[in-house]
């Protein structure tokens, strides 16, 4: 069984204003914190992402979901009403990264890794002892 693919569960989530709600069946990947410059600007600080196959994700209120293509092969989804960051999608992968902050507690998730620390901002330190990678580990790492 692959790392992080061990949690049969059903999770729910929503944006801050509630216009968009999520249901996720099946397993969610462990949480990864991304320190890249794009994430930092869009979220306002380094975000925590889990991930799942799109086929496991139901989005209600998707008319309120706005996509911004942030690089040639990836786009970011947010609520056009409240601005909540919900998704990072490596386009064409069939998978989506989901901002852990939008999930209802308890999430039963844990943070396992920091990525893109080569691009880390100067206003914080990482002191949790978790693994740190200078760049990405894989396309869907966020």
């Amino acid at each position: 069984m692959a790392e992080g693919e061990k949690r049969p569960s059903r999770a729910t989530g929503r944006c801050l204003c509630g216009a968009i709600t999520l249901e996720i069946r099946g397993t969610l990947r462990d949480v990864v914190v991304c320190h890249c410059g794009q994430c930092r600007r869009q979220h306002g600080s380094p975000p925590s992402y889990t991930a799942a196959p799109w086929a496991d994700v139901t989005v209600n209120g998707s008319k309120h979901l706005k996509w911004f293509q942030s690089s040639p092969d990836a786009r970011r989804g947010f609520c056009r009403i409240c601005g909540s960051s919900l998704f990072w999608e490596p386009m064409g992968s069939g998978r989506v990264s989901i901002a852990a902050g939008c999930l209802d507690r308890p999430t039963d998730l844990r943070t396992v890794r920091h990525i893109f620390i080569a691009d880390k901002g100067d206003f914080y330190e990482i002191k949790d002892g978790l693994e740190q990678l200078p760049h990405s580990m894989m396309a869907q790492a966020r």
Partner: protein, 124 residues
């Protein structure tokens, strides 16, 4: 405190700002509202509103997240930029949208009791 002029922008560049003068050390907010909106901690510093110059403010969407509190984000790329208490004369700005280096360092963790369950919050 940092000196001089601080610059920053959203991810797509439609909203840009300059802040004159010193800025206090930022706080990292663990509250549920910040967590949902940012998908991250809310890391902010602040300055009097009249020390800001904001370009492209027509691209800012303001969302009232509680009575008298609003959060500003870019309508094009969704970047979270500002947090404002009505009539305070102050505007909070996210550290993540500032150009590097910021010369600032988080000194305070707030709303730790509301922290997400997928990370171990710092002890203070």
């Amino acid at each position: 405190m940092t000196r001089g002029k601080t610059t920053g922008s959203c991810l797509c560049g439609a909203v840009r700002y300059e802040i004159e003068g010193p800025l206090p050390a930022p706080s990292a907010c663990h509250c549920a509202q910040c967590r949902r909106q940012h998908g991250a901690l809310g890391v902010y510093t602040l300055a009097p509103t009249d020390r800001y110059k904001i370009k492209g403010d027509r691209n800012i969407v303001w969302y009232e997240s509680s009575p008298g509190i609003r959060r500003g984000f870019c309508r094009i790329c969704g970047s979270k930029l500002f947090w404002e208490r009505a009539d305070s004369g102050q505007l909070d700005v996210t550290l993540g949208t500032m150009d590097q280096p910021t010369g600032l360092r988080i000194e305070k963790q707030i709303y730790l009791a509301d922290a997400g369950d997928y990370y171990d919050p710092p002890s203070r």
